[in-house]
């Protein structure tokens, strides 16, 4: 029994979205999140509507801004952070991100390949004769 006893201050889990227990800090967190999100949204609109970025890089820029804004939402609104009490939530999120990445990038990759390797419609008609 002796070696199984843990210190009483072992961290408990935190529910996703749960606000930390001091009140002022969480109000500031929501407001900071709103500010960052507004800034990033504005930046996305500016990047897409002006020639601020080199034209072929606009897509990459928009993707980076969108991922940054999702991060802001996760940290400031959903309170998914890096604390030791948050490990379960972050692991679930990481698994979700893995699946989403596989679905989206896999579909794009396969369909692009398929497009490149398909016979033109006229050639298919020729073969069916």
């Amino acid at each position: 029994m002796q070696e199984n006893v843990e210190p009483p201050s072992a961290p408990t889990d935190q529910a996703p979205g749960d606000v930390e227990h001091e009140a002022a800090g969480s109000f500031a967190s929501y407001t900071a999140g709103l500010g960052f999100a507004l800034l990033l949204t504005l930046a996305s609109f500016v990047v897409s509507q002006t020639h601020l970025l080199w034209a072929p890089g606009v897509t990459a820029g928009l993707i980076v801004l969108a991922i940054a804004q999702m991060g802001v939402h996760l940290v400031f609104f959903l309170h998914i952070g890096t604390g030791s009490d948050n490990t379960n939530n972050v692991l679930a999120l990481a698994f979700g991100v893995l699946i989403v990445t596989l679905v989206i990038s896999g579909s794009l990759w396969i369909m692009a390949n398929l497009n490149a390797n398909m016979l033109p419609a006229s050639a298919i008609m020729e073969m069916q004769r």
């Binding site: 029994m1 072992a10 408990t12 749960d18 949204t41 928009l62």
Partner: protein
Amino acid sequence: MSAHAGTAELAGAIPTIPVTSARSGGGPAPVRIVVAYGFWIFLLSDIILFSALFAAYAVLSGQTAGGPSGHELFELRHVGIETLCLLFSSYTCGLGILSIEHRRLRSFYLSFALTFVLGATFLGLEVTEFAGMLTRGAGPSRSAFLSAFFSLVGLHGAHVSAGLLWMSFMVAQTVVKGPRDFVRRRLLCFSLFWHALDIIWVALLTLVYLMGAR
């Protein structure tokens, strides 16, 4: 008595497990954490559902079949207002959760009323946009691009409608039952849902509207 004897028998059969040790911080997690964690897993599965539609849209976005493209259809000013509505509603929803945790009911009702109005405005703008596209003959049956567009954006809109319905139920429940533990748990789940919808909208705004309107 017999139940007690059964427990003792069971404990005798498995002698190696120390029943009383506080290995994970003292027994099962509180209900609030278990409920919110389960709901978080549901939200992630919902996001995976969206990812399939995002993939379909990304593949089909160029297939306009001679019909109108996103460049001709999307009005970015309109979309910008929608984005602001949803972002501010997410913020007021968070403030509402803060208020209910501190039992400030009046500020909770105010925050959730604002959240509802902003969410309903978003939905109204989206319905207007869809109606405008339909009258221009750009319905979901016009091209593969428009089918993918309507299913993706429509599914998000359906989620927002469900959220508005859920929000009204939760406010009614708070009025009737007060800020009890289970009411606050449900409100926490609702706020997670609402914030997740905003995250999906960020992806939607970027992939569909900002990239499509260029």
